[in-house]
């Protein structure tokens, strides 16, 4: 019995950080629902998804990067650049908004390919390469415009303000009731695609393998370079998509938008249970990491007395806690290989060995 439980615990130990994240989210939301009546409103729960689709989309891209053992600090810069470039093209060029969105996604992908090239083939540390990328993207944003550029596009208005009522909760006749928005649908589609790619494709398994041990992955004959290039390309693409979601949300572009977004995204990924060292984690954990950040903000808003700066304080503390737990788990995992005693022949009649005998 104990053996069985222990075996099961060992088998599912990899889910422990994810389970901790989901439990933490449920507890935080349950606390809010008990203390604040307003938090029992379904719309408040849906608002967790509506509030920051750009954060979830960029955090999903970041999850792939971190799973592969890398890091990307250019996310916030690319998001800001996307908003400014979109707004500028829509205003001065009068370009078709669909074309602008397509161009922005291509731009994000090209940015990601460039980062990936420097990291993969020129062996530049991801931290340094993407830090430079962040400066370039931010600089380009302010080169395009020092000030905010408003977006006056019917398509952006429709994408940002269309309400999708929730069947069963909302009244389709009066058009009143809980709803989500098109960016929420987009982020959920991106999430599902990312889960599928990470868990059910050869590319996803290669990402995990590279994050676990890049050298081993090479020795196994896995396409390490191509996969790393793809990972940064996907992240650039996700950053551009996040930028589009942000510009749709705020109907403008500015170089100061998304300041520090990359760090919030990393925080969400880590809180979601992904190891910063790579190789371990789940995309769905990132969803709950983002939701935890959202629920913290919601609790602070409902409280009404606390400064909004408590959000980064709590997020920082949680990130530290999760990194601490991860390090402890990693150390525990590493211990048997470092200090394991040589196996001894079993002695008959030794009661301490009985439970280990299958």
């Amino acid at each position: 019995m104990i053996t069985s439980l222990r075996a099961r615990a060992v088998r599912y130990r990899r889910f422990a950080p994810l389970a901790a994240t989901i439990t933490l989210f449920c507890l935080a939301y349950a606390y809010g629902a008990v203390v604040y009546e307003g938090m029992r409103d379904p719309q408040v729960f849906l608002n967790l998804f509506r509030a920051s689709p750009f954060l979830l989309i960029s955090a999903i891209g970041m999850t792939f990067v971190i799973l592969s053992g890398g890091i990307d600090l250019s996310v916030g810069g690319v998001v800001a650049l996307t908003t400014v470039a979109s707004a500028a093209l829509l205003r001065s060029g009068g370009m078709d908004p669909w074309l602008v969105m397509a161009l922005m996604i291509v731009m994000g992908a090209v940015f990601g390919v460039t980062m990936g090239f420097f990291i993969t083939y020129l062996r530049v540390q991801p931290f340094i390469a993407t830090l430079a990328g962040m400066w370039v993207a931010r600089g380009l944003s302010f080169w395009i415009s020092d000030d905010a550029i408003p977006i006056d596009s019917r398509l952006y208005t429709v994408l940002g303000q269309t309400k999708i009522l929730i069947p069963g909760l909302a009244d389709p006749v009066t058009k009143i009731g809980p709803f989500i928005s098109i960016p929420v649908v987009t982020e959920l589609v991106v999430l599902l695609v990312a889960i599928f790619v990470a868990q059910y494709t050869r590319f996803g398994r290669t990402v995990y393998a590279i994050g676990g041990n890049e050298q081993s992955a090479r020795l196994m004959g896995l396409p390490v370079n191509r996969t790393k290039m793809l990972v940064y390309t996907i992240n650039g693409l996700c950053s551009a998509l996040a930028g589009i979601a942000l510009s749709v949300d705020v109907s403008s572009g500015h170089g100061l938008y998304a300041t520090g977004l990359e760090l919030t995204a990393i925080g969400a990924v880590v809180i979601g249970g992904t190891l910063l060292t790579g190789g371990v984690g789940y995309v769905v954990g990132t969803l709950f990491g983002v939701l935890i950040i959202g629920v913290i903000q919601t609790l602070i808003q409902f409280n009404g007395q606390l400064s909004s700066w408590w959000t980064p304080i709590v997020v920082g503390a949680l990130t530290l806690a999760f990194i601490g737990i991860q390090s402890a788990l990693a150390a525990r995992k590493a211990r048997p290989t470092a200090g394991r005693r040589m196996p001894q022949p079993a002695r008959l009649g030794d009661p301490t060995l009985q439970e280990d005998v299958p």
Partner: protein, 305 residues
């Protein structure tokens, strides 16, 4: 196509058709908001001389844009074209709304200039140095710009139009009525109207007191939402039956306002200086609405106060 696939297609179509009623697309405000604009019109109300002996032409200007609008003369001299073919340049061009947006159909003849600490009432006028009184058939040409509609802090000049106002000087209209030149149905609201502002917060003037030259209004916001919100209204100016806008202009997001907690109310006062003898007051109220730092104007009837 097999029967199964056809059934599936019908089922998907039915689901999508049913789902359409759950999708609420925002109205297209832009298409409905197209209004024919005649810009601003000006008339001369008096012609005289300044203390320095220069020609001075007093004007009244009228908002004929069909929307709320602010106007200002361009930084260029006005041109006086005499009926006899003579021309003169007028360097002092004190023509504008002082930054404030004036309601459609309203007319004015002065605004509050100077500085915030030392405001000065500026009559709308043009001064032409060394110019003789204009002969019959003379016209004054003033280049100006105007903006219309809502005030968007992030794009204040989005609706800017540059044009020229021509003022015939043959007829002086000294006995005009202010501030309404052409009434617009439903434009002027009662002072205690409930105005829906940003995040569905309800704004209402709950008190109005006039003591000496100070007019103090008390504002109350009621927040039906679940998040704390603040609604900016600046220091709303007032136009009287003398056609002067009282209140120094600054961007309405600058004046601090209290945060309204969810499900609660907040109150704060605003002040404006008006000479005690001025009556027939209308408040030109910018209210932060729809989204942050976007201001929709309202005209409130303060009566004789």
């Amino acid at each position: 196509m097999s029967r199964g696939r056809a059934a599936l297609a019908v089922l998907v179509g039915a689901v999508l058709a049913g789902a359409c009623e759950y999708v609420v697309v925002p109205p297209d405000d832009g298409a409905a908001a197209a209004v024919t604009s005649e810009g601003w019109a000006g008339v001369a109300t008096a012609i005289g001389t300044t203390d320095a002996g220069d020609l001075r032409i007093d004007l009244a200007i009228e908002n004929r844009t069909g929307d709320w609008s602010a106007m200002a003369a361009a930084e260029a001299p006005a041109r006086l074209a005499g009926g006899d073919g003579s021309t003169a340049s007028c360097d002092v061009v004190m023509v504008g709304t002082g930054g404030h947006r004036l309601a459609p159909g309203f007319r004015m003849r002065g605004f509050t200039g100077g500085t915030k600490t030392e405001p000065v009432i500026e009559p709308i006028r043009v001064e032409c140095a060394d110019a003789a009184p204009p002969p019959a058939g003379s016209k004054l040409a003033i280049d100006y710009t105007y903006v219309t509609g809502e005030y968007n802090y992030y794009d204040p000049e989005a609706t800017t139009t540059r044009t020229t106002m021509e003022v015939p000087l043959d007829e002086l209209l000294a006995d005009l009525t202010y501030p309404v030149a052409a009434p617009v149905d439903g434009l002027i609201q009662p002072a205690d109207s409930e105005i829906t502002a940003l995040n569905d917060v309800v704004l209402q003037m709950t008190g109005l007191e006039r003591a000496g030259t100070t007019l103090e209004a008390t504002w109350q916001t009621t927040n039906p939402g679940e998040y704390p919100t603040s609604v900016h209204i600046g220091e709303p100016p007032v136009i009287g039956s003398d056609g002067v806008i009282y209140g120094f202009y600054e961007s309405p997001d600058l004046a601090s306002v209290p945060i309204t907690p969810p499900g609660a109310t907040a109150e704060w006062p605003t002040e404006v200086d008006i000479p005690a003898e001025v009556t027939g007051l209308t408040m030109l109220l910018p209210v932060e609405s729809k989204k942050q730092r976007l201001f929709v104007s309202h005209a409130l009837d303060l009566g004789g106060t």
